[in-house]
Amino acid sequence: RQESIANLSLEEYMRYGRQMIVPEFGALESQLVLKRSKILVVGAGGLGCPALLYLTAAGVGEIGIVDNDIVDVSNLHRQVLHSTDTVGMLKCHSAAVMLARLNPHVTVKEYPIRLANDNVFEIFEKYDLILDCTDAPAVRYLVNDAAVILNKTVVSGSGLKTDGQWTILNFAGVGPCYRCFHPKPPAPDSVTSCQDGGVLGPAIGLIGINMALETIKVLTGHYKPEQFQPFMCAFYGYHFQQYRTFKMRGRQKSCQVCGEQPTVTRTLIERGELNYQVFCGRSEPYTL
């Protein structure tokens, strides 16, 4: 009987009722779309924690978490899914335990591995949408290239200190990708991680929550391929006009991965012929 209410149990109906009555969301149909969706969150840090919290709360059916890092006490001011008693635990496991308490209807898969050329395709293939919550250009290019090649939309965010940015990449296979915006990688001396440069918890948290909202909007069909306007939102936490929305270029014909004559291919990546560390000019390997 309970299962017969259009594939939601009575408990799920009660749990999601307050979002299903929001007209822009799209009622029961959108809730069922969320339940059928599988998304992958790459990085369970300052961006991934709030994104995971709100997407689990909203009832996405399956969520994968890729992170091979361990919870450190220096993460806790911003990585609020973890706690003092999970210091030393794998982040993807610490997160999964907390998320199961919040919403047992969501299946959480843990990938305690470093995303790399030889595993990215087999993991991404299982998911409908990727959230890029990583911390370095090399892995951001890897996430982008694999997502474009597999035709997955990427919701991408980043932050540092008091500022942040977010956007939707390769939307429905028609929107611009990370390489359309950034054909050349930044000089290594201009790249700073949150661990090195510092970050305020709510500033990076804001970006992660915005990514959760954009993910819900993508999954439930708010954005249409024929009407999609490429954008980048930017947040400057200590500026009077804190938030800005920039109108961005569309997909570039010259793009090396999504353009007319792509040089970046699955074979090239899988054979290791594209070395993302070298491409980004870094000697040390990235960490998430």
Partner: protein, 100 residues
């Protein structure tokens, strides 16, 4: 004389004494000035220490990793260096961030 505004955001204000917003006057007539002139005058009049120019410029254009917006629109949609400047324009330069 064309009066425009220039912003350095996302940490790029390190090249201008941590001032994020600047007023810039170009000694040119409307119709004659392009984005290329804006960049030239930024290097000359706004960047405090000439040693910081390479943080902003590489290979004769804005360095990779810096997003350029003309009135909140990606300069790629506005002819980039060839954009013809109008009084009151806002030019935003913001670092791409990578942290997470």
């Amino acid at each position: 004389m064309i009066k425009v505004k220039v912003e350095f955001l996302g940490g790029l204000d390190i090249i201008s004494n941590h001032e994020r917003q600047h007023k810039l006057t170009l000694p040119l007539e409307e119709g004659d000035a392009t984005m290329k002139d804006v960049i030239t005058y930024i290097c000359k009049d706004i960047i405090t220490d000439q040693k910081d120019v390479p943080v902003f410029i590489e290979d004769d254009t804005v360095r990779p990793g810096i997003l350029v917006l003309i009135n909140d629109t990606d300069w790629e949609l506005e002819d980039k260096e060839e954009y013809v400047v109008e009084s009151g324009d806002l030019f935003t330069f913001t670092s791409t961030l990578h942290g997470g």
